[in-house]
């Protein structure tokens, strides 16, 4: 495409940096912005500015928030004795959509990934330990991803909390509801056996 406009090229370049957006899609989005009415286009720009200027991490749990404490931490109906540990804010959103949990969260903002140079000090683990030190938490639920790094992160945290009077549990994993045992792959069966619960 001929670069007849530097400002248009600039917008296309910014769209092309977004995850999953290639050059063609970036051009399509840029032309869309030109085509819609001005108010709608500027509303998009304002929304981006807004989210960056007004949204930050909750001072207590590191979920996204517009105030010092997020909506979940401010909710008096929530049980502060229950703390669910997740890797990312999007994991909180997924668990909230499931709707079965009434405790609080702690977002690590990543996972321990030594091969990527990410150690415990790069996450919010110290803040988590300080939270548990305050004594209100009775159960810590590990909800890191069921991957090698996620499991390693959960184990590191469980070890760090070993001296505190808290129960450490982790999400059950295993057989999908509605699936058939004989067709379940053996890794999942092994997980399901390890994570068996009292009947």
């Amino acid at each position: 495409m001929a670069q007849f406009s530097a400002t248009l090229a600039n917008l296309i370049n910014h769209f092309a940096k977004l995850p999953g957006i290639g050059q063609k899609s970036a051009e399509r989005l840029a032309y869309h912005v030109l085509r819609v009415n001005k108010a709608e286009a500027l509303a998009l720009a304002d929304a981006i500015r807004d989210v960056r200027e007004n949204l930050h991490y909750c001072q207590q749990c590191y979920f996204l928030s517009e105030q010092d404490l997020c909506e979940i931490c401010r909710d008096p109906q929530r049980d502060p004795a229950l703390l669910c540990i997740v890797e990312q804010p999007r994991d909180v959103i997924a668990l909230e959509q499931a709707g079965a949990y009434r405790g609080l969260y702690h977002v690590l903002l990543g996972r321990i990934a030594p091969l990527e140079g990410i150690g415990p000090e790069n996450l919010t683990i110290n803040a988590l330990i300080q939270r548990v030190q305050k004594g209100e938490v009775r159960e810590v639920i590990m909800a890191t991803n069921p991957t090698v790094e996620g499991d390693g992160t959960a184990l590191h945290i469980a070890n760090a909390l070993a001296d505190f009077p808290v129960q450490v549990t982790r999400l059950a994993r295993g057989i999908t509801t509605g699936s058939i045992l004989e067709y379940t792959n053996r890794e999942i069966l092994a997980d399901a056996l390890t994570g068996r619960q009292k009947f």
Binding site: P19, L115, V148, L155
Partner: protein
């Protein structure tokens, strides 16, 4: 662009997009490859959760002739590395195996013997093998297969046998032990205890599995880490990321 099949160990994974991963695989038949796994982060992907660090998989990939990423089309799980859920030292030693495979080898340079050694080391780390013994054996095996084994019984300067008594000089730049005649004037020379040298010799000997009966005394492990960390950092031109964790592995 041919479809290739091989056994492979996942040595690195980077999120590429909302749904895709870029993986570094150490394959048995083609050496290290970098491949794009499209859709791997979707819940029902063609890879069925096989792609995780340290997993052994049977993979199919489209080999690109240029330096573009290969395209991973299939990955069937052979064995998952599970020790990370119960023992951090086993996990970090496993990460170190992956780091050595990734850093010491080059794309398009297959070493089936190194692959077999790595798969076995991971299986033993995931089982009940001694963490330090398995890690040291794998380290020495990788150095031997890739032609970087330091000289441990003959002087790297003059070839004369060097006896493991008292303290033995080890030249980092020369790559091995030095006799008293060759030592003067050399830079980056450390001295190793006789027991340390004998331990290295035992773990380096490819003709025997006698290392299995050997335990690495914590003091010797500490000493050997000092030497090997320095040697590998020189070899790679940078400090391996897992080195700071290895010092804590002594049993």
């Amino acid at each position: 662009m041919a479809a290739e099949k091989s056994l492979a160990i996942v040595v690195r994974m980077v999120e590429f997009s909302e749904t895709s991963l870029v993986v570094s695989l150490f394959t048995r038949d083609f050496g290290k490859i970098g491949a794009l796994a499209k859709g791997a982060r979707r819940p029902k992907s063609a890879f069925e959760g096989a792609l995780d660090l340290l997993s052994v998989c049977r993979v199919v990939f489209l080999h690109k002739s240029t330096d573009a990423l290969d395209l991973l089309t299939e990955a069937k799980l052979v064995r998952r590395f599970r020790a990370g859920a119960r023992d951090l030292t086993r996990l970090y030693a496993g990460y170190y195996v992956a780091e050595l495979l990734d850093e010491l080898t080059h794309p398009g340079d297959p070493h089936p013997d190194l692959y077999d050694a790595a798969e076995q080391a991971l299986a033993e780390l995931d089982g009940a093998g001694s963490v330090t013994a398995v890690a040291l054996r794998f380290e020495m095996t990788a150095l031997r297969i890739l032609g970087h084994m330091p000289s441990l019984s003959e002087c790297v300067g003059c070839g004369k046998p060097v006896e493991a008594v008292g303290r033995v000089a080890f030249g980092m730049l020369e790559g091995g032990v030095l006799c008293p005649d060759c030592r003067p004037g050399k830079r980056q020379v450390v001295s190793i205890s006789a027991e340390g040298v004998k331990t290295l010799q035992g773990f380096a000997d490819a003709t025997t599995e006698a290392w299995r009966g050997q335990t690495v005394h914590p003091k010797i492990w500490g000493e050997l880490r000092g030497v090997l960390n320095h040697y590998l950092a020189n070899l790679l031109g940078k400090k391996p990321k897992l080195h700071e964790f290895l010092g804590t592995l002594a049993e």
